[in-house]
């Protein structure tokens, strides 16, 4: 039973490698991030992808958010974050590949805890992508409550894209 608009997001631990401008090429040590601690009192745009470095995610979904992050934040959003079930090193490398620096927080839900808690995970075993992959979606979260949720119904990027989210801000 998936999360809905009006619900409170679950309190789970995600990990990320903090952006370090002095060591742009080096990965910093992954840090845990508790969703409730990090997002309390803030307005967050969180978009989820099935996989870093995969075609749709890399060519369509991520670049839009990377280029429009500032525009999103100008509309009363404190954090723009991306989450996938890849580990934090992979998320960091993917963010670097798209030049996000600190404009998009690259979050890892490696054990699928967050995805499972909100009911938006798929089994990628048949494609040899592993048993837990997040669905493609975007959320606007306001002080931990879901304000907007766009879950992609099929392949491609529509309701989960930056343009759709900006229209709702």
């Amino acid at each position: 039973m998936a999360i809905q608009v009006g619900d409170t997001i679950p309190n789970t631990v995600l990990t990320y490698a903090p952006y370090n401008p002095e060591h742009a090429d080096v990965c910093s040590v992954p840090q845990p991030m508790n969703t409730h601690d990090a997002f309390k009192g803030k307005r967050v745009v969180l978009f989820a992808v099935p996989g870093a470095f995969t075609p749709t995610c890399s060519e369509t979904h991520m670049p839009e958010y990377a280029t429009r992050a500032a525009e999103i934040k100008a509309k009363n959003v404190d954090i723009v974050a991306c989450v996938a079930s890849n580990d934090p090193f992979v998320m960091d490398a993917w963010g670097k590949a798209h030049g996000v620096k600190d404009s998009v927080l690259m979050l890892s839900d490696a054990n699928g805890e967050f995805g499972s808690a909100i009911g938006l995970v798929n089994d990628g075993t048949k494609m040899r992508m592993g048993p837990i992959r997040l669905a493609r979606f975007a959320m606007i979260i306001n002080d931990l409550k879901v304000e907007y949720l766009g879950v992609e119904p099929a392949r491609g990027v529509t309701v989960s894209g930056a343009a759709s989210v900006i229209a709702k801000l």
Binding site: N86, F89, V90, G130
Partner: protein, 170 residues
């Protein structure tokens, strides 16, 4: 139950994206790498690493194998495979970033099949990598039989699993 020298290397299906020599920017369709069928009659080096894009793996382990791939193959090795518990898209991107081209097959074990079949999975949760990750190992397989197996005592380091050490036993 962990594999050891003298054992048959287990049969699992990994996945990889082949290098596209004609158009390196275009992705070819992912292929299955069957560790029994595709290794039959061949001499293969398989290197397992905890994670693509992680510091040790990226700075030390992979580059040395890229640099010494030709030397390794000159000693009778038909295939060099790098694998980790990441998916094949991630392995492909990692290989591209390290200039692997077609020297090394970058195969993903996202389903954890190889880890389970070899017993070479460890819990790397404290490093943020999850509880079922391949540890750092290097194995020389001759027509399906494990000839040499090296497992790094400290997976965050590269000693017995290095390209140089593998060269020394070939």
């Amino acid at each position: 139950m962990t594999i050891k020298a003298g054992d048959e290397f287990p049969q699992v299906q990994l996945k990889y994206i082949p290098f596209n020599a004609t158009n390196p920017d275009a992705c070819l369709s992912p292929q299955v790498l069957d560790t029994k069928k595709d290794f039959a009659g061949k001499k293969v080096v398989v290197v397992g690493v905890p994670g693509a894009f992680t510091p040790t793996c990226s700075a030390q382990h992979l580059p040395a194998y890229v640099a010494k791939a030709d030397e390794i193959k000159a000693k009778g090795i038909d295939l060099i495979v790098f694998t980790s518990s990441n998916d094949f898209f991630v392995l492909s991107a990692w290989g591209n970033s390290a200039g692997v081209e077609d020297k090394i097959i970058m195969a993903g074990d996202a389903n954890g099949d190889l880890g389970r079949a070899t017993g070479l999975s460890v819990d790397f949760s404290k490093f943020g990598l999850g509880s079922q990750r391949l540890t750092r190992f290097a194995v020389v397989i001759d027509d399906g039989k494990v000839e040499h197996l090296f497992t790094e005592p400290d997976p965050s380091d590269v000693t017995v699993t290095s390209a140089d050490n593998i060269l020394s036993v070939l």
